[in-house]
Symmetry: C2
Subunit: 328 residues, 2 copies
């Protein structure tokens, strides 16, 4: 019997999960839950239900894993623990500083409900975190580097949109090639924020807006832009739609370290992603971990987990003997 | 109390494990076991014992994990199951085709002895296998590529040394840059053996040897060279010692795949290693997994495991809360 998946929240991530479920023959989409009027929502999967989030508890026997596709700022801190009372749950909670308290909240609710909850799944946190952990364990005393991009930062794009006179905007985070090369050399450079990434902004201004003032407001914006070399391009709405409609992203996790009795040998471990669609890839990672949540729950486990706590074999549709034969 | 490590076999890999243990403050080297006369062996670690392999069973209460550093062809198939009766064990068994039967033998012995055995640990099999598994689970329907090098292939170097008139040799496996780029484009090319790697050989000929015949013997050698574009350089023994004394290696595991309702988006996941010392890096991976073997055993688990079966957190000296706070 297929693993029955529920999706809560039908934005880019929710649609990505729907597509990922289609790519995994051992899973099926049971229902999409929304806070909007369910009748206003059209989904892609034939036969799957569209229901109000208020109806979720009544579906507790019809869904094996509920995938939470809301945002980390206001949705997930409440939703993931709430839903863990009724379902095995997975989310992509990515506010790094608040992960410990989110973990505790989900752990408590999941244990009370007798379910498994897996939090902070995706690529960062997620696959990047895993690669940091593996490389740290292998090369103690080394140095970690994470570069993001080239890709669209939703947060930075939103920050630009809030500036007066801006109609729309897209911001790309771009790793600095020279910095990447310096890291890969094994020299272990200390890099400032400015040396690691540049930011490139494509801005549609309102008619008659003061472009000079917009540019100044962007490049001097604290936290978001002031510590970076930022380039601003003003383009038309048509150009934005035509050339910047995608949500690509990616990045690099690199650890360098030394081995040998006197640290005489240098090593570079690098993991990189080049993603046409950030939400669809994130959704694909989450969907693989949904399989793990289902299996852990079937074993009788309960409580909160992260990618660190889950043996890789749980992610695969293949069994242990097949994996050893074909992938080891 | 530190994790007490034993090393069986003191070649390049064994010395690499000794160095790795030095880099991990929660571990200590208890003893090195050898099939040679123990008095003939000088090790680097002060205070660690050097003993005959025949004395290993008598040390069963003084060692938490025995790391087997012999070869896959003749040493490990017997040694790993033998030692699993007395110790938690780890090896780097890398004869891919025989992994299933090795797994069964170690599993049986480890269960009978009440120990944990982890086999096929290193980078391939090992970290490369893990990356294949993760990327396969995330991108079902994609394509896998593994490239090795640039690095020294011990097996190919040995094959050249067996040719008449050859005094010494070093063989480098080199990935073809154009093939790597084609894979990274996401085009999913079908690549022949010849298109993926070239082989470069540095050969020291015996005085008066027929170099033409040696070169012909190399490039036409079935399995090892005939399917590749192979370059042969004759150099002096001094040049070989000066320029080719190291044992560097590395490689790339790449998976490309598509997501979206109609497969409209392409993704590239890449993991790469650039290693100054193949045996020391392999040893560092094994040593991290020794920590996992110790912990699994303390939990009361027994039997054989591979890297697929072990949650990443077991490899780290940090506890779960620290990992979530700092690496997730």
């Amino acid at each position: 019997m297929a693993i029955r998946v529920g999706i809560l929240g039908y934005g880019n991530l929710g649609r990505g999960v729907e597509c990922a479920v289609k790519h995994n023959p051992d899973m099926e989409l049971a229902a999409v839950f929304t806070r909007r009027d369910p009748r206003s929502l059209t989904i892609l999967t034939e036969g799957a239900k569209v229901l109000s989030v208020d109806d979720a508890p009544s579906m507790k026997d019809d869904i094996d894993v509920m995938i939470l596709c809301g945002g980390s700022a206001t949705d997930l801190p409440g939703q993931t623990p709430d839903m863990a009372r009724y379902f095995n749950v997975i989310d992509s909670f990515d506010t790094h500083a608040n992960i410990p308290q989110h973990y505790d909240a989900v752990d408590k609710a999941a244990k009370e409900g007798g379910h498994v909850g897996i939090i902070s799944v995706g690529w960062d946190p997620g696959m990047f975190s895993l690669n940091r952990l593996y490389a740290n364990a292998i090369l103690p005393g080394g140095k970690d580097y994470t570069f993001w991009g080239k890709g669209v930062s939703q947060g930075h794009s939103d920050a630009i949109r809030r500036i007066e006179g801006v109609k729309d905007a897209r911001q790309y985070t771009i790793p600095v090639e020279d910095a990447l090369q310096a890291v890969r050399s094994g020299a272990g450079p200390d890099l400032t924020t400015r040396q690691k990434h540049t930011r490139e902004c494509f801005v549609v201004a309102e008619e008659g807006a003061d472009k000079k003032a917009i540019e100044e407001a962007i490049v001097t914006m604290p936290n978001y832009f002031s510590d970076y070399d930022t380039t601003v391009h003003f383009i038309s709405e048509e150009e934005l739609m035509r050339d910047h409609a995608g949500i690509p992203h990616g990045g690099f996790v690199i650890r360098t370290g030394r081995t040998g009795w006197e640290d005489e040998h240098s090593h570079v471990v690098e993991y990189s992603l080049k993603l046409d669609s950030n939400p669809e890839f994130t959704a694909s990672v989450i969907t693989a971990y949904a399989r793990a949540a289902y299996r852990l729950s079937r074993e009788g486990q309960t409580g909160c987990r992260t990618v660190f706590d889950i043996a890789p074999a749980y992610l695969s549709a293949q069994d242990g003997a097949e994996l050893r034969k074909h992938l080891l």
